[in-house]
């Protein structure tokens, strides 16, 4: 499955002019408020018609201005979780959830009502009308409704924004399983870089209606030049690893080109490839291999580049085996440690700093 | 100024007379006699009332709203049996006419037989002829005599009973015959001054209606005049 989008559209003063490819997996649209994310998703869903361009899903043309083609939304079979909910007020939760089921082709498989209710914690609400739901409950129903329509692809516009972290922690693994087990492609809009880092196979950066960067999540999110756009606090590197073994004390050992990592248990069998995100600000640089510290992971690295940020911070890009890490340090430390490209160092990472939410199978 | 309340069926003739009379400031309000009578009862600014039947004039007079001594029977009329355009039936009016047979499932158009004067007279005439019972189920009652006439003129009803005055004015229908005046109560259009509206102008207009000039116009429209008047 692969989605290919290349469209332009004028709405008021705002010009959308976006082209990107979304290969298998989860493609995240990342961009600030008003940058055009929802507009793109609406075009893919067929709810707005671009002025010009082409949208294809797995070779099938959904829209093509040159040929005057516009497949109606109902025949695109894209499950859309809207930014603004849009539950049917006259149906109860169960009826909302199962609305799309009747239109799904008989061959289509997917989760059933019970499992969706379970996963989203909706079982006790099935007889309620949307008017009697809390904000987060509504959003969960919207997610379930899209899932249950057995779509070929999911379009999710900030689906988890109104949910607490506990609930998010339940839904995220489910989306991962969808991505991995069923191969259901997802176009995912979110403001949350951790969420995106965990889920996304591909990241598309949007700014003022234009695509300013697109590519595998690992590359985009590890690109120091992207740091500006997504915010210093969220900078980090995503590293492909492989599960080595699980230890008795609840830690899992992963291996990658740069060495080994100890992480809280990951529920994947040995040999499973796993993507790990290491935030730049979770990496401490040390001139010597540290002793007697609670941080379990120490990796030998070489400084690749140093990039000044605003204020007192710098981003150091580090070569670690074949992979790259980012570290956020102060200029004062850089001076004190006399950092410069080529300098060999140790990167100290607390095992727990690579938190569950930052681990994505991939 | 004079305000005249007149039965709607008088419109053609009366408009003509007002014009010919040369009397300025005469306005005529045409409506059903029942509506006009009730309005006079409720203080309408009518000065002259011309009803299409005696019942409503009686009603107004009983309410004490008629200027004493001004009521007169102005006009009379006849009932006509008419046929739709293109019809070639010949049906002499009489006790042995086969009205139902000629209708042949079609409708006999009349005004409301229990409420509107033309309908009441028509029903009386048919009853007197012994025809009512057989023809009753075929009767289509219109809310006024003009509507009944229209049903026949449009060919929706093959036959109808209307005033002779209506038949005269509608070229599309063919008069099969006039009902004998003895078959139904006299069809009289009484006129009177309304109490409180008794001005010289009103009186003059009422008098004018009986002049020869006025009568000529009434006559041209198919009206006749009460016994004893030419």
């Amino acid at each position: 499955m692969s989605l290919s989008v290349s469209i332009t559209r004028q709405q008021g003063d705002f010009t959308l002019d976006a082209a990107f490819d979304a290969p298998e997996g989860i493609t995240a649209l990342l961009g600030k408020s008003g940058s055009g994310k929802t507009s793109i998703v609406n075009a893919v869903a067929g709810l707005v018609r671009p002025d010009r361009g082409r949208i294809t899903l797995d070779g099938e043309v959904l829209f093509d201005s040159a040929r005057g083609m516009h497949v109606p939304p109902s025949r695109r079979r894209l499950g859309y979780v809207f930014q603004d909910g849009r539950l049917f007020p006259h149906f109860n939760v169960r009826q909302n959830l199962t609305y799309g089921l009747r239109f799904a082709p008989s061959g289509a498989t997917g989760p059933d009502l019970a499992s969706v209710c379970d996963m989203l914690g909706l079982s006790h609400l099935t007889d309620r009308r949307p008017g009697a739901l809390s904000g987060g409950e509504k959003q969960r129903v919207a997610i379930g409704r899209a899932l249950l329509s057995r779509p070929r692809m999911l379009l999710m516009d900030e689906p988890l924004a109104s949910l607490d972290s506990a609930r998010k922690a339940e839904i995220l693994p489910y989306l991962e399983r969808l991505r991995d087990d069923t191969g259901l492609p997802i176009l995912y809009v979110s403001h949350s870089v951790p969420e995106i880092a965990r889920l996304a196979t591909t990241v598309v950066l949007i700014d003022a209606g234009k695509v300013t960067g697109a590519g595998p999540a690992e590359r985009i999110l590890s690109d120091p030049s992207v740091v500006r756009q997504i915010g210093l606090r969220e900078a980090g590197a995503v590293i492909p690893t492989r599960v080595l073994e699980h230890h008795d004390d609840g830690l899992s050992e992963l291996v990658f080109s740069g060495g080994r990592l100890l992480l809280p248990r990951i529920d994947k069998p040995p040999e499973t490839p796993v993507r790990v995100r290491i935030l730049a600000h979770d990496v401490i640089l040390s001139l010597h291999a540290p002793q007697g510290m609670s941080a379990l992971n120490t990796l030998p690295v070489t400084v690749l580049s140093l990039r000044e940020g605003d204020g007192p911070g710098m981003i150091a890009q580090l070569q670690c085996g074949d992979d790259r890490l980012l570290a956020r340090i102060t200029r004062r430390s850089a001076t004190a440690m006399d950092l410069s490209p080529g300098k060999p160092l140790f990167a100290v990472i607390k095992s727990v700093a690579v938190a569950r939410a930052d681990v994505g199978a991939g | 100024d004079v305000t005249v309340f007149a039965a709607a069926s008088l419109k053609t003739a009366l408009d003509n007379i007002v014009e010919v009379s040369g009397q300025p400031g005469v306005t005529v309000s045409y409506a059903g006699s029942s509506a006009l009578a009730r309005q006079i009862e409720h203080g309408a600014p009518a000065q002259v009332f011309i009803s299409a039947n005696t019942a409503w004039m009686d009603h107004v007079e009983d309410s004490g709203l008629i200027a004493p001594g001004t009521r007169r029977d102005l006009l009379t009329n006849r009932l006509a049996l008419i046929a739709a355009p293109g019809s070639d039936v010949a049906l002499p009016i009489g006790p042995d006419m086969d009205l139902a047979g000629v209708l042949n499932g079609g409708r006999l158009a009349m005004a409301l037989v229990d409420a509107v004067p033309a309908g009441i007279y028509g029903k009386a005439a048919l009853t007197a002829l012994g025809q009512w019972d057989s023809v009753q189920p075929q009767v289509a009652q219109a809310d006024n005599v003009r509507a009944a006439l229209r049903l026949v003129a449009l060919g929706e009803a093959p036959l109808g009973i209307v005033y002779a005055t209506d038949a005269v004015a509608e070229p599309r229908v063919r008069v099969l015959g006039l009902f004998d005046t003895a078959l139904h109560p006299a069809i009289i259009y009484p006129a009177a001054l309304v109490k409180g509206g008794d001005t010289p102008e009103a009186r003059a207009f009422l008098e004018y209606l009986s002049t020869d000039a006025a009568r000529a116009i009434f006559k041209a429209n198919g009206f006749s005049f009460p016994e004893g008047q030419p």
């Binding site: 109902s74 008017g131 899209a146 | 409503w56 009652q141």
Partner: protein, 232 residues
Amino acid sequence: MTDWLSPTEWQAVALSLKVSLWATLVSLPLGVLVAFALARWEFRGRQLLNGLVHLPLILPPVVTGYLLLIVFGRQGPIGAWLDQLFGVTLAFRWTGAVLAAAIMAFPLMVRAIRLAIEAVDPRLEQAAETLGASRAWVFATVTLPLILPGVIAGSVLAFAKAMGEFGATITFVSNIPGQTQTLPSAIYTFLQVPGGEASALRLVLVSVAVAMLALLASELLARRAMRRVSGT
């Protein structure tokens, strides 16, 4: 109460109910369609259709009745055609009374439904579409339930209007007791004779009672529908 009204009067009551119900039911689907077209579709002749729908409201009823007679009478173009092809006669039949009542009530029905359609949030319909529902399904499962209060309001308005319709009905189908004599015709008849007011009043009361019941029922229905729509 059976004594209170004469058999003919009972007939008139029954006929008015029958005519009004049929008029409402028959015009409902078309009313919804036309309201939808006026609210949502852009097409040449939209304003013309809108005007046409409103015509019976603008014209004096007698004129409408007269036009009906010309068009749907036995000699009328459509009337003759209906008669030949289907053996359906409207003139002087209760079916004609239904047509007259339906046409007179149509603008009211369409206006109410149209207003309801225009109040539907199109984003909900879009949501249904993305879930795979075709336009027709969206209409049946989302639009229609959401406009139900408006449809009910429009229908009751139409029913009430049909119960009171007089001018067009009597002009088009006359006043044939048991066949086309509706309640208003009966009332009118009484009002034409001096002293008939009391009898008219009795029928007016019946008419009011029937319509009030219909109104009450519709209020309850509409409230239910409204509660559904508000989502609680």
